[in-house]
């Protein structure tokens, strides 16, 4: 068993887990944060994307013990981190996904939003080509991606203010 102490969505958590536990399973099963989805078993689909110390990672492809001492942000913690104070305000990427009808079934959406937020944290004004490149590791079966790309552009606008 491994002891894992990490910060998840701003809160310190301490868990005792089997060594082989994947980060995504720790988030979903041990912490009940089921907004992070599992869509494949080969690190291809990106449904499980979260932020690890501010960078987007696929939480199915790292062990929970590897997150010891690190800060994790999941979709549940995204609202309210941008802008002044309010914990209820949607993150600009969430807001943009809503405005642009960038989701249909919604299963890929948490991962898409975390990947997009990760991109915009690194590159506040991405070109369409850069957006497409950044979303290469996130699959969606419903939308044809058209409105997702538009939403990332819209989010960039919202974040620039």
């Amino acid at each position: 068993m491994a002891k894992v102490a990490m910060t998840v969505n701003g809160k310190a958590v301490a868990l005792e887990l089997e060594d082989r536990t994947l980060l995504v399973d720790a988030l979903r099963d041990a912490l009940g944060l089921t907004g992070t989805h599992v869509g494949c078993d080969s690190t291809q689909c990106g449904c499980c994307t979260v932020h690890l110390d501010g960078r987007s990672v696929k939480s199915c492809s790292m062990l929970a013990p590897q997150a010891d001492g690190r800060a994790i942000l999941t979709i549940e913690g995204l609202a309210g981190i941008e802008g002044p104070g309010s914990g209820d305000a949607l993150h600009p990427v969430q807001q943009a996904f809503t405005e642009c009808h960038a989701l249909q079934c919604g299963f890929c959406t948490p991962g898409m939003i975390m990947a997009a937020a990760g991109l915009l944290a690194e590159n506040p004004a991405p070109t369409e080509e850069e957006i497409v490149h950044a979303l290469e590791g996130n699959l969606c079966r419903c939308t044809g991606y058209v409105n997702i790309v538009s939403a990332v552009q819209r989010a960039a606008e919202l974040m620039r203010g």
Binding site: G39, S42, L103, Q104, F107, I131, V132, R141, G144, Y145
Partner: protein
């Protein structure tokens, strides 16, 4: 039809790789996976058949004793003798074989189910993503012999369906049996590997078409010979895909005096095939429009004029096809003209020349598609409206959203019908206690069926409320008028709002204003014209979809943003089939070689560079909304439009046809072979 039994766990023989053979129940998924490692099964290898050609070969290994020759049945539609006569007098004939390759549905949420069993009432409660609780209840009852009334199905958010979630699966039965035996809830959540191996798959059709033309380019007859790969077992929809859905619109948008189609449904050692976005209708649309384009090229006809000359004219509506299907409405020429104008079709030659100067092969593809939607299996569609103490009208439906946005569209229909704010209406699917009648999601029918029932519900509520409003206002019912959510005594300002009235009447259950909306709504024929423009790099075989224009007659549009989203998704799903997706089974071992997203290329962001979507509504009279359905029109248009665009780009090299998918490797090889032929022709040319 010869239909072998499909046991939840394989008995004696395993008929396809991925068929469940044993179940392990444990306290956690990890423990179950560990325990599954301990299961040892000794298999004796039998020779597999995976392809249609292998399955139908003389002396082929037989899957099921009940189905000699691996043939489930032989089906025909139309008039074979009339077709024979028409072909005998034809001035031109074209013949083309097309394959709509086997695909994996791959909704992003893998299949899952959780079941519990109440020993006191003998009722099972089953949580599972599905396309409609009624259909699932019937399918599970048939699979398990548990009476329908003892099955309580709960489906909430569904992570994409695309057809594969209609039927009951072996895992449902196993989980139910385990829950009963253990007296505890039991859950199964599929992995993506299990999705690839165990979900019903799609397409897997071979379609051979023959077109008979007179000397002026009028179509005299169209004849089809189809072979459908059912997989190892017949799913409830597998044979429907390979027969009815391939033949119901087998003449497409064209006025063709003679139609004939034959279809054979065949068993192979592969995952069973079921409905997948369009379920045979995109496949026949693809085959028709490829054949039209091929015939035009073969006989030197302008493909646009050839189509125009043969369209069913708008004034011929309603039009009964030669095999008895009645198209209620449509204006195919106007839709095509609209699409060609928006796509800049007239300016294409210059764009092709510009691309050629950069060493690229540019092609344009047009597809005028039509598909059959709307009619459901249930005798009617019902929705129930319930006024709650919370001040909301909750509408229960049977059709289950898997991302189509019913919660928005149906709420818009009810709210606009009542003249109340949309926020006051809530849509809920899958009421586990409901005794409603109706079909689930499938065949692009939810709007035409369930949406129409929502429209009827609004009218019913107003009529049901009228006497109560009259009592409240102390007026005669006929002196009231209803508008903008309130009853008003004509000519006065005295009024009562619908929700204020509902609040006054609150108390008894059911609420006096609770109502049923229902009706029987007929088939519709969504159609359209899609124009695709592609650019192929001959050095790599890679294709860019540089421009895509979709003009669709989906009838009346209720939610423009949602309808556009459906077209986007459907077109890109077609693009996935045209450029990459294919489920390949090794012929010698029956192993699925493309069993992960690493081996099975799903379409990714940016696949279409410029994408224009425009509705061109010609409302239908077969339902109260005038809506035709939009779920599957996207891939019905994009399969042929994209395929025609690629073949148009390759035509100058002498390539007239090519099997899907058009992967870079396949295109590069085809281009290299064509150039090799050209080189060797040059080498053998007489020297001067």
């Amino acid at each position: 039809m010869r239909k072998p039994v499909w046991p939840p766990l394989a008995r004696e023989r395993v008929h396809f790789v991925g068929q469940p053979v044993a179940a392990v129940i444990a306290e956690s998924a990890a423990a179950a996976a560990d325990a599954a490692e301990l299961v040892q099964i000794e298999y004796r290898d039998l020779a597999p058949v995976t392809t249609l050609a292998d399955a139908l070969r003389e002396g082929a290994p037989q899957l099921h004793a009940e189905a000699p020759g691996n043939l489930a049945f032989d089906f025909e539609s139309g008039d074979a003798a009339a077709a024979e006569a028409a072909f005998a007098k034809a001035a031109h004939v074209s013949r083309l074989t097309l394959r709509s390759q086997r695909l994996v549905g791959n909704p992003m949420e893998p299949r899952a189910c959780a079941a519990s069993h109440d020993a006191g009432t003998a009722i099972y409660t089953i949580y599972t993503p599905t396309q409609g609780v009624n259909g699932m209840r019937g399918a599970l009852s048939a699979l398990t012999n548990v009476p329908r009334e003892r099955l309580r199905i709960v489906a909430q958010d569904v992570g994409g369906s695309f057809g594969i979630r209609s039927p009951a699966y072996p895992e449902h039965a196993v989980v139910m049996a385990a829950a009963k035996r253990l007296g505890r809830p039991v859950k199964w959540v599929g992995t993506r590997s299990e999705v690839f191996l165990g979900d019903n798959q799609g397409r897997a059709l071979e379609l051979t078409g023959e077109l008979a033309l007179d000397a002026t380019g009028r179509i005299l007859a169209l004849r089809w010979d189809h072979v459908a790969n059912l997989g190892a077992y017949a799913t409830p929809f597998g044979a429907w895909v390979g027969t009815r859905n391939l033949t119901v619109t087998m003449g497409g948008v064209y006025r063709i005096p003679v139609l004939y189609g034959r279809a054979r449904c065949v068993y192979t050692n592969t995952a069973p095939v079921s409905a997948y976005r369009g379920a045979g209708r995109p496949d026949i649309a693809f085959a028709i429009e490829r054949l039209i384009e091929y015939a035009a090229a073969e006989h030197g006809l302008d493909p646009i004029e050839f189509r125009r000359r043969n369209f069913v004219p708008a004034e011929a509506m309603p039009y009964k096809t030669a095999n008895g299907t009645v198209y209620d409405s449509g204006d195919f020429a106007a839709v095509m003209d609209d699409a060609l104008a928006r796509a800049g079709h007239a300016g294409f030659a210059a764009r092709r020349a510009e691309a050629a100067a950069r060493g690229k092969l540019r092609g344009i593809g047009v597809a005028a598609y039509l598909e059959a939607a709307g009619a459901g299996a249930a005798p009617k569609d019902q929705v129930r409206g319930r006024f709650g103490a919370d001040g909301f009208l909750t509408v229960w439906t049977l059709t289950q959203s898997g991302g189509q946005g019913h919660e928005t569209t149906f709420a818009e229909i009810v709210a606009s019908g009542l003249g109340v704010p949309i926020e006051r209406v809530r849509i809920r699917a899958s009421d586990p206690e409901a005794d409603l009648v109706g079909s689930g999601v499938g065949g692009s029918r939810s709007l035409a069926g369930c949406g129409s029932a929502c429209r009827v519900l609004a009218d019913r509520i107003v009529e049901q409320a009228r006497p109560f409003a009259a009592e409240a206002l102390e007026a005669a019912p006929e002196d009231l008028e209803y508008a903008r959510g309130a009853f008003t005594i004509k000519g006065t300002g005295r009024a009562i709002g619908l929700f204020a009235l509902a609040e006054r009447l609150a108390g008894p259950t059911p609420h006096p204003l609770d109502a049923l909306g229902e009706g029987t709504f007929g088939a519709t024929f969504p159609n359209g014209c899609h124009v695709a423009e592609v650019e192929i790099d001959p050095d790599t075989g890679a294709t860019r979809i540089v421009r895509y224009t979709a003009v669709d007659d989906i009838g009346t549009v209720v939610s423009p943003a949602l309808a556009r989203g459906q077209v986007h998704g459907g077109v890109v799903q077609g693009a996935g089939q045209v450029f990459g997706e294919q489920a390949i089974y090794a012929p010698d071992s029956g192993q699925l070689l493309t069993a992960s997203f690493a081996d099975y290329p799903m379409p990714r962001a940016g696949i279409i560079e410029r994408f224009d979507v425009h509705p061109h509504p010609v409302p239908t009279g077969t339902n109260v909304l005038g809506a035709k359905g939009v779920g599957e029109s996207g891939c019905s248009g994009s399969l042929p439009a994209l395929a025609n665009a690629v073949l148009d780009a390759l035509r100058p090299l002498g390539i007239a046809t090519l099997d899907l998918p058009f992967t870079p490797a396949r295109l590069w090889e085809a281009i290299a072979a064509a150039r090799g032929r050209a080189l060797s022709r040059r080498a053998h040319a007489p020297q001067v």
